[in-house]
């Protein structure tokens, strides 16, 4: 493993739900290839159902591809990698029956952090997201923005090199989202983590990403990759710059037809592979 080894590499990955030959088979993702360098933030953007989240779950080993391969640090991925990859989900994935602090500590317990280290590390990551005063609150008592910061704190507490973020700010209002984006950029500059970030927002993608991977409509393919050459941490002045609006227009041009196509497609079956993972053997899944 050298500096040149990408943190994440995806080669010709296809994912489909349903058995081959089945009329109802849905190809969510088709021969996607992508390499994410160390310390890089890559945004995945595309119309709904184009396989962005699917790709993210393949990277983290939460599901297995129908074909193709995924490597983390040059090692093929065969299952979840809690030591290397941490997640931030769109929905509220905090356990509502535990306080914020206990949520973070539980994540570490799952990961295998010794008991004595958990408390100080959890407090540290709470401080990093500015939630120290809310350690003993239950998730239900927090605002949407605070919940997502708490989720981020839980992910940071795992001290992984890679962060996978699945539309983490999608449920928030635009102002909150922009401020949290600035915070994330600062965090990235400080910690040098590798981040893959799924989003629907054009501006958010450009503001955060080193590179933006644009997906086509279902069956999803990576249509084009756009580079944003701008140092982290980024701030309001970058948000106001010509560069952002230029790139935004370019991105919209690329996405426009794909979104039109998606609007004419039927709703996807809700049975995503990650939803049936605990109960064993439902069968039929390739």
């Amino acid at each position: 493993m050298t500096e040149a080894t990408p943190a994440i590499r995806v080669q010709g990955v296809t994912q489909a739900y349903g058995t081959p030959g089945d009329a109802l088979r849905v190809v969510a993702l088709e021969s996607a290839s992508l390499a994410v360098a160390r310390g890089e933030l890559v945004c995945l953007i595309g119309p709904s159902g184009c396989g962005k989240s699917t790709l993210l779950n393949l990277m983290g080993g939460l599901s297995r591809p129908a074909s193709g391969e995924v490597w983390i640090d040059g090692e093929p991925v065969t299952g979840p990698l809690p030591q290397k990859v941490a997640y931030v989900f769109q929905e509220n994935a905090l356990f509502p029956w535990r306080t914020v602090l206990d949520n973070i500590k539980l994540g570490m317990a799952f990961q295998g952090v010794p008991q004595a280290d958990r408390e100080p590390r959890a407090r540290e990551s709470l401080q990093a997201v500015g939630l120290s005063d809310f350690a003993d609150h239950y998730p239900g008592q927090l605002s949407g923005g605070m919940k997502q910061r708490a989720q981020l704190a839980r992910a940071l507490g795992l001290r992984t090199e890679i962060l996978l973020m699945d539309e983490p700010f999608a449920a928030l209002d635009e102002q909150t989202r922009m401020v949290l984006g600035e915070d994330l950029s600062v965090l990235l500059a400080r910690t040098g983590k590798t981040i893959v970030f799924v989003t629907h927002s054009l501006v958010e993608a450009i503001f955060l990403a080193d590179r933006v991977a644009v997906f086509s409509a279902r069956p999803g393919r990576i249509k084009q990759i756009i580079s944003v050459n701008e140092q982290h941490p980024r701030n309001r002045s970058f948000m106001a710059s010509q560069k952002i609006s230029q790139l935004r227009n370019e991105l919209y041009e690329l996405l426009h037809d794909e979104i039109r196509r998606t609007m004419d497609q039927p709703k996807l079956d809700p049975g995503s592979p990650s939803s049936s993972t605990f109960t064993v053997n439902e069968g039929g899944k390739t």
Binding site: W97, F110, T279
Partner: protein, 518 residues
């Protein structure tokens, strides 16, 4: 806000005062004999010494002993079984409908059998209580464990949770509110059925005491005992609800009964057996084990193998008295159900439609629902006689509450935005009621009707078992006393089939009329 809460309490208090007043006036003013309906004051005069002298102790101790043993058995058995079942989605689809189906059978029907096996002492009450409490616990635990939000599971998996950690730190706490609801329902049902069993046939316990007082026409004292039992039931309910509220830090999760769990029929693969086939296999295996066990070890006086039950069933089908009894029970059930539906719908709408009536009246409904109705059974007989009227009335008293509660819940779950948008398009109150409220209500109304149907059947059978000269309940009692287990089993099987059939009928119409309700 505080003023409003005070107003709710006032309405609730007013309701109690009104009941007492109407009672007092009818007791004194009308020609009803004080033997049938003693005035509240007389009951109060009996109630005080009852509390002071502590004569209730021996009976209360028996009832509570039976309750605690029955509940412990049910809780341990149900939680271990549901743990095993919920580990596989396939097993859930095999067993969940099976348990739900058995739960729909009025278990009190088995009581004559239990008396046959366990005698008239506490053992038969413990057995019936445990049997009845088992099902809500097992159904809710399975439903809770299988419906844990997949986000939590995925999140825990991404952080590397082991299988044990997943169960202990994620599945169990996530399902806890629903499991608690199951435990509460189990405890209450065990209490009610034990009281019912004591009323029907027993040597001791609170139910036995009340039935005895009714037979001696000592009505004032009987009422005092009933009030005492209501007090106990209320305390029990309060204690459990309190524990439940403490256990559920994060509210919003409450599933009263499962049964919808298997409605999502996903992709059925050819590699494994269809769950319905496997379910039949399980039932078949039980029958085979029963047949073998009964032939080898059973005393034919107490237990019959399924083959002999089948023969007996064919024999019963030709007997005029049996057909007449089944017809009578079905007729009583139909009338009781019709009354339950009309009353339940009306009261449910009144309670559910307005925030004020909801907050003030709903607690009263809940309280009445948790009332041990079996203890007032003697009262029904005193008022309505031993003919069909008392069976119907008792059936209504059981069937009406699930419908009220389902209707009230269905009405209050309407999204305000739907009503607002209808109003913006110029809908008037009547149009809103017909076009928005009623369709929205339909799915929960059907659920309520299904639960109300089994409850009404339970009420009718309970009344027939207690005192009757006709009907199915009467026949089961007779078959028990004359040691004809094959006939008893056959009759129970027929009734179970009727119960399951009605349940399925309601379920079918439920899914037929609420397809949009995904």
């Amino acid at each position: 806000m505080k003023g409003l809460r005070f107003a709710h309490r006032l309405v609730q208090l007013g309701f109690l005062v009104l009941v007492a007043l109407v009672w007092q006036i009818t007791a004194i003013g009308s020609h009803v004999s004080p033997l049938l309906l003693p005035p509240p004051a007389a009951v109060y005069r009996e109630f005080l010494p009852l509390l002071m002298t502590g004569v209730f102790w021996p009976d209360l101790k028996v009832t509570l002993y039976e309750l605690s043993v029955a509940f412990s058995i049910a809780a341990v058995a149900a939680s271990s079984i549901s743990y095993v079942v919920s580990r596989s989605r396939y097993a859930i689809r095999v067993f969940d409908p099976l348990f739900a189906g058995i739960f729909a059978i009025p278990a009190i029907l088995m009581y004559p059998l239990y008396v046959l096996f366990f005698g008239l002492g506490p053992a038969s009450k413990i057995a019936i209580g445990a049997t009845i409490a088992f099902f809500p616990i097992v159904l809710n635990t399975i439903s809770g464990l299988s419906r844990v939000d997949s986000t939590y599971v995925t999140a825990a998996r991404s952080m590397g949770a082991s299988s044990l950690q997943m169960f202990w730190s994620v599945m169990l706490p996530a399902a806890f509110p629903i499991i608690l609801t199951g435990l509460r329902m189990g405890l209450i049902l065990a209490f009610l059925s034990i009281l019912g069993a004591e009323t029907i046939a027993s040597f001791s316990g609170l139910g036995h005491q009340i039935a005895g007082l009714a037979e001696n026409m000592d009505t004032a004292r009987m009422f005092a005992y009933i009030v005492f039992v209501l007090l106990i039931a209320f305390l029990l309910n309060f204690a459990v609800s309190f524990a439940e509220a403490r256990g559920r830090r994060e509210g919003g999760l409450s599933v009263m009964s499962s049964g919808r769990a298997e409605s999502a029929v996903g992709s059925i693969t050819k590699t494994i057996l269809h769950p319905a086939v496997a379910r039949l296999g399980v039932i078949g295996a039980i029958l085979v084990a029963w047949e073998a066990g009964a032939r080898m070890f059973g005393d034919p006086l107490f237990i019959s193998p399924p083959s002999r039950v089948l023969v007996a069933m064919l024999g019963l089908a030709g007997r005029k008295d049996v057909i007449a009894a089944v017809a009578l029970t079905c007729w009583e059930l139909t009338v009781a159900f019709a009354f339950s539906l009309i009353i339940g719908l009306t009261v449910g709408l009144i309670v559910g439609l307005h925030r004020f009536t909801r907050s003030s009246l709903y607690p009263i409904i809940l309280l009445l629902y948790a009332m041990p109705l079996a203890t007032v059974l003697p009262l029904f007989v005193i008022v309505f006689g031993i003919g069909p009227a008392s069976k119907i009335a008792f059936g209504v008293s059981h069937g009406v509450f699930p419908i009220i509660m389902a209707v009230a819940a269905g009405v209050q779950n309407i999204k305000p935005i739907l009503v607002t948008s209808a109003r913006s398009m110029g809908a008037n109150r009547r149009q809103i009621l017909i076009s928005i409220v009623f369709p929205h209500l339909l799915p929960s109304l059907f659920t309520g009707m299904r639960l109300g149907m089994s409850a009404a059947l339970l009420g009718v059978l309970l009344a027939e078992l207690y005192v009757s000269q006709s009907g199915v309940g009467y026949l089961t009692g007779m078959f028990t006393q004359t040691f004809q287990p094959q006939n008893l089993f056959a009759l129970v099987a027929v009734l179970a089939a009727i119960a399951v059939g009605l349940n399925e009928l309601c379920r079918l119409s439920e899914s037929r009329f609420s397809q949009w309700h995904v």
